[in-house]
Symmetry: C2
DNA sequence: TCAGTAACGCACTAGTTAGTTACTTCTTGC
DNA sequence: GCAAGAAGTAACTAACTAGTGCGTTACTGA
């Protein structure tokens, strides 16, 4: 790995671990768990393959670590939205826009989640950190709904989990199936106008769902 | 493959081809393109591996054939719905119920589509058969929308492709991500009550989207 | 009936792949 | 300043995997 004449890289366990994790995220997202190659991950991380086994244990454990990190990343981003400062309608629209933008900006998140579910979720063991983050997220949506009901703009009785799933679904499905969609429906799913139209349609869908 | 003393199987090219295709669909759906094993597909099809290369050319060509068949299957099933005989509201609700039921009864369809898109759709070349079937499907939805507008129950200007995508999305996402969903949201996504609730929520979502 | 062809099967190969062994080099706490 | 352990490396292996060469067996049509 090291070229003759180069200085040996300064030893930095955290940096090496992080480089491996980033390379693994990219490769697992691109090719799936079975399609990704440990050697290629090591090469992209500028690390020796042995280090992967040293820090993570094995290919599947590395995949596990990538998944947990990906989920924590999105939950952290969601927390930074500070939706509780906004009026309920604006808060909800902002959540729909954020979800859409997050999927667009982090396409690897979608394929990682797909891979996790192809393997029936067995790499995402119950994690208190993740479940706490999810609970906080559901509470946040519940609070927006409650405030909307009090304000008389939202109808009561909406399940925040179902609403969450729907908000994710209408963006996620469009983007994850954009390749087959483009072929079957004979329109470019990724051109600017198409993306704007879809976002507008999704905001409309969610608003009609919750408004009185 | 053949046990001593058994009669050689009667030669039937169509049957062998079909057995290979069925085994391939099952294995590709279960493990993805990279995870599936050609030897295992041959074993499950009770066929010699050589026959896969004889009939289909190679692993990727076999995957291609599986994909096209899967799409033609769902489009055929959709055509048998005969929604044009129903009043617009009933027709649309029936479409939502059908889509949901189809994903539930054919879980391999979902993972095959996911795999196709992981590989950026390159195994689903432009196929006149598939595109014709898709066009007919979009027309069917367009016709329901038009009739609804004439009847004064649906609002005008709804894009049938966007509506289709949304109908698919709200069922597909829930089912494809049921494993990670069950862990993160701490509720069983597949128990009867949960499935009923989701279907009801989805019908509600679509109706609120189209009704005046 | 028999030659030609399509279906089928066995055994092999060349290349790949996750994981390991056995080592060297650097850093740090004392 | 030095022992001990952590970081890093190269070469290896055993198992696997897609694909093939080549021969055999059963239909089929003339």
């Amino acid at each position: 790995m090291r070229v003759v004449g180069e200085q040996p890289r300064a030893r930095d366990a955290n940096a090496t671990r992080a480089r491996i994790l980033a390379a693994a995220k990219s490769e697992f997202a691109r090719l799936g768990l079975a399609g990704a190659r440990v050697d290629e991950i090591a090469r992209q991380a500028c690390a020796n393959k042995r280090m992967i086994y040293h820090y993570f244990g094995g290919k599947e454990d590395l995949f596990r670590a990538v998944l947990v990190e990906a989920y924590l990343d999105i939950r952290n981003a969601e927390q930074e939205l500070e939706l509780d400062h906004l009026p309920p309608r604006e808060a909800l629209e902002r959540l729909v826009r954020f979800t859409w933008a997050y999927y667009l900006d982090n396409p690897e998140f979608i394929t990682l989640v797909n891979s996790a579910n192809l393997h029936r979720g067995k790499h995402l063991e119950k994690s208190e950190r993740l479940q706490t983050a999810s609970r906080r997220f559901v509470s946040m949506v519940q609070e927006i709904l409650d405030r909307g009901v009090v304000d008389g703009v939202f109808r009561p009785g909406i399940d925040p989990v179902q609403l969450n799933i729907t908000i994710a679904a209408i963006g996620y499905y469009y983007l994850t199936n954009r390749f087959t969609g483009t072929i079957l429906f004979e329109r470019d799913f990724m051109e600017n106008k198409a993306l704007e139209d879809r976002l507008a349609f999704n905001i409309d869908t969610v608003m009609r769902l919750v408004l009185v």
